[in-house]
């Protein structure tokens, strides 16, 4: 009993971590339809800058701010100078974002070196609490909390403002949105930058949870991010969150009960979901 509860809690925490990684991508890929292979690299930049600022100032808050800002700026520049002409053109996006991914990842090696770096948890969030006899790290509780806040915040932003519908409309027919008097390019730039900022925000939160950073950390997590978005149903923000938690729990349970298959969990889950429900769990049938 206590074991199961503990495993489930860990699953949820892992899921929320994956969600934090995926949340920016739900905007950029899920809503704007950009197949962004550089997302992981932006994530990594956020984590590294957060790490550096944390190391230099000792303030985790500053680290979060700096990391987030890094992603925001990178995203803005990327959208403005590279992505903009290629909305709706997946083929060009693939090549372009792969190129950006390489440049950004190599950039990390130039600035921070190719080695593994340790990322410690802030003092306040270290330690464990005991839940049903088993230790449960405080930082994971923090992660779950932050994930929930981000979920609510972004959901609010999309449902209570016009941004959500402008993006959805703009993806289909940007000209018509402009003809309605909306500067769709500005909105896209902002949302893209916001998505990238969210990625790097998630990265600073995730960094201490991983405990270490390496230049490929973004690539390593990018696939999981794509997977949860697809499982949840592309474009469905809440779906992505549910998908992430589902993946987190499945991973944890499989790791315990069927470790031989743990390697295949994510992709097998995605394949299964798609075979049973071709548009993802909460996607719209088109």
């Amino acid at each position: 009993m206590s074991l199961t509860v503990n495993l489930l809690l860990n699953g949820v925490a892992l899921g929320m971590l994956i969600f934090l990684i995926a949340v920016g991508l739900t905007l950029i890929f899920g809503l704007m339809g950009v197949l962004n292979f550089a997302h992981g690299a932006i994530f990594a930049w956020g984590a590294y800058v957060g790490w550096a600022v944390y190391g230099a100032t000792g303030s985790f808050i500053l680290a979060i701010l700096a990391g987030t800002a890094t992603g925001f700026v990178l995203g803005f520049v990327m959208e403005r100078f590279f992505i903009r002409p290629f909305y709706g053109n997946h083929v060009a996006q693939i090549l372009l974002t792969l190129g950006l991914m390489i440049v950004l990842t190599e950039g990390i090696k130039i600035f921070f070196g190719p080695n593994i770096l340790g990322f410690d948890k802030p003092e306040l969030l270290q330690g464990v609490v005991t839940i049903l006899q088993d230790p449960f790290p405080v930082y994971r509780i923090f992660t779950i909390g932050v994930g929930a806040l981000v979920l609510i915040g972004v959901h609010y932003l999309l449902s209570r403002t016009k941004y959500g519908i402008i993006i959805r409309a703009g993806v289909q027919d940007p000209e018509m949105v402009q003809a309605l008097g909306i500067d769709v390019r500005k909105v896209f730039a902002l949302v893209f930058a916001f998505g990238a900022g969210l990625a790097s925000f998630g990265a600073v939160i995730a960094g201490p949870s991983f405990g270490s950073l390496h230049p490929e950390i973004g690539m390593q997590n990018q696939l999981a991010a794509f997977i949860v978005i697809v499982i949840g149903g592309i474009g469905n923000f809440v779906g992505a969150a549910i998908g992430a938690v589902l993946v987190g729990i499945t991973q944890t349970l499989m790791a315990y009960y069927l470790p031989e298959a743990a390697l295949a969990v994510n992709v097998a889950l995605m394949a299964l979901v798609l075979i049973l429900k071709p548009e993802g769990l909460f996607g719209l049938r088109r």
């Binding site: 016009k162 959805r168 000209e175 003809a179 008097g181």
Partner: protein
Amino acid sequence: MTTLLTVKGIQTFIGQYHILQGVDLEVEQGRVTLILGRNGAGKTTTLRSIMGLTPAKQGQIVFDGEEIQTLKPHLIAQKGIGYVPEDQGVFSDLTVEENMKLAIRKLDDATRARQDFVLDLFPDLKIAWKRKGGNLSGGQKQMLSIARAFVNDNRLLLIDEPSKGLAPIVVEKVMESILELKKRTTIVLVEQNFLMASGVGDDVFILDDGHTVYRGSMADVRSDEAVKKKYLGIGL
């Protein structure tokens, strides 16, 4: 009578194709100006050039005394120009409600009143309020597209073939509302349905092969069999 919109010798290219090769228009305040012409004559491209969607390479477009041919479409729209495109431009992933919400530039009482007006004009939209744009019938899409343009306080409306796909009684209602709107706004109308066009039009420009080839009043055209036959192919 004041001229609200002047189009002077615009030349428009799409890719390498020279589509408009000298189109002139003069649109008088408070009147309905018709643009007529064969398929492929350049009517749609003219409206798109005014909106800035396919910017004119040469020539001038003057709206209310200001040159707008170099402005971006959203700025042109913000000047108070509404556009009903020929393919409706309905967002299929958005509900009717969201389509309307997106279109509304400023939500004030006057706008709410106009929204009530268009929903009375097209009760279908009320019924389909929560339906996705992509699931509407052809005619309902056309209604939604018109409604989006009518809901704002526009000074100029560019309407591309509104009657297409609409049931006769709805066409009639649209005609009536255009006549009604004429009191507060100015309308440029592209229309193939001559019955409707001649019912609402004041001035007429005829395009052919990317050029303005004729201008006159509706009354002139109605009575000028030669023009009708030559440019519109109506041999009555």
